[in-house]
């Protein structure tokens, strides 16, 4: 069955450095991959997506790469700031059970230290 893995351990990084989060998947060939941000006590908020035929997407300080051979997406935040501290979720689409759904990873908590 479809499986998505994100590093369950928190990622601590110094302010100003580049944070890199990983999303690996198995038993699946997604048409697109999304990244969401979730702050404590809030719902996830969509940030960025990348399609299977795209290698890289950028939005301001965010960059996403998608390697369908490695079955991996990397999410980069450059010049990280304490305000970037949150949990980041990746999601594959279409999800298992049909294209009205997406399948979420467990998320990685990012802590940016001033």
């Amino acid at each position: 069955s479809q499986k998505i893995e994100q590093n369950s351990e928190a990622l601590n990084i110094q302010e100003g450095k580049t944070a890199t989060l990983t999303c690996n998947y198995t038993n699946y060939s997604p048409a697109y991959l999304q990244w969401y941000r979730q702050d404590p006590g809030r719902g996830p908020v969509f940030l960025l997506l990348i399609r299977e035929n795209e290698k890289e997407k950028r939005k301001e300080r965010l960059k996403v790469t998608f390697d369908t051979t490695l079955k991996q997406s990397l999410f980069h935040i450059t010049a990280s700031q304490p305000a970037d501290s949150a949990t980041y979720l990746c999601a594959l689409g279409p999800g298992s059970g049909g294209y009205q759904k997406v399948t979420f990873g467990t998320g990685t908590k990012l802590q940016v230290i001033p």
């Binding site: 369950s8 719902g43 996830p44 969509f46 979720l89 294209y99 009205q100 759904k101 990873g105």
Partner: protein
Amino acid sequence: DVKVTQSSRYLVKRTGEKVFLECVQDMDHENMFWYRQDPGLGLRLIYFSYDVKMKEKGDIPEGYSVSREKKERFSLILESASTNQTSMYLCASSLWVRSDRDLNLQHFGDGTRLSIL
């Protein structure tokens, strides 16, 4: 902007009670979802609805039911609450997806943290 509103941020109920969680979206989305989120387990889909009165089981439907009488409103019902249903419940909505190449962007509410005592 799409707004998904969940009726309660925090809720405390007792074992055996019937519990209703309400969700309303204001963007005329066809799809609505209920997830629960637990540490280490991520977001798990409980139920999904793609139209009024239509519903589909997700990955963990046991102990839950749903109701969608109006397009903008999707209710999650815990028929007889149990302690293992203590969790964060998230509602989401999205547009109808026409093919496996169409994007499915999920818009979430802020969640209901439910405690069953």
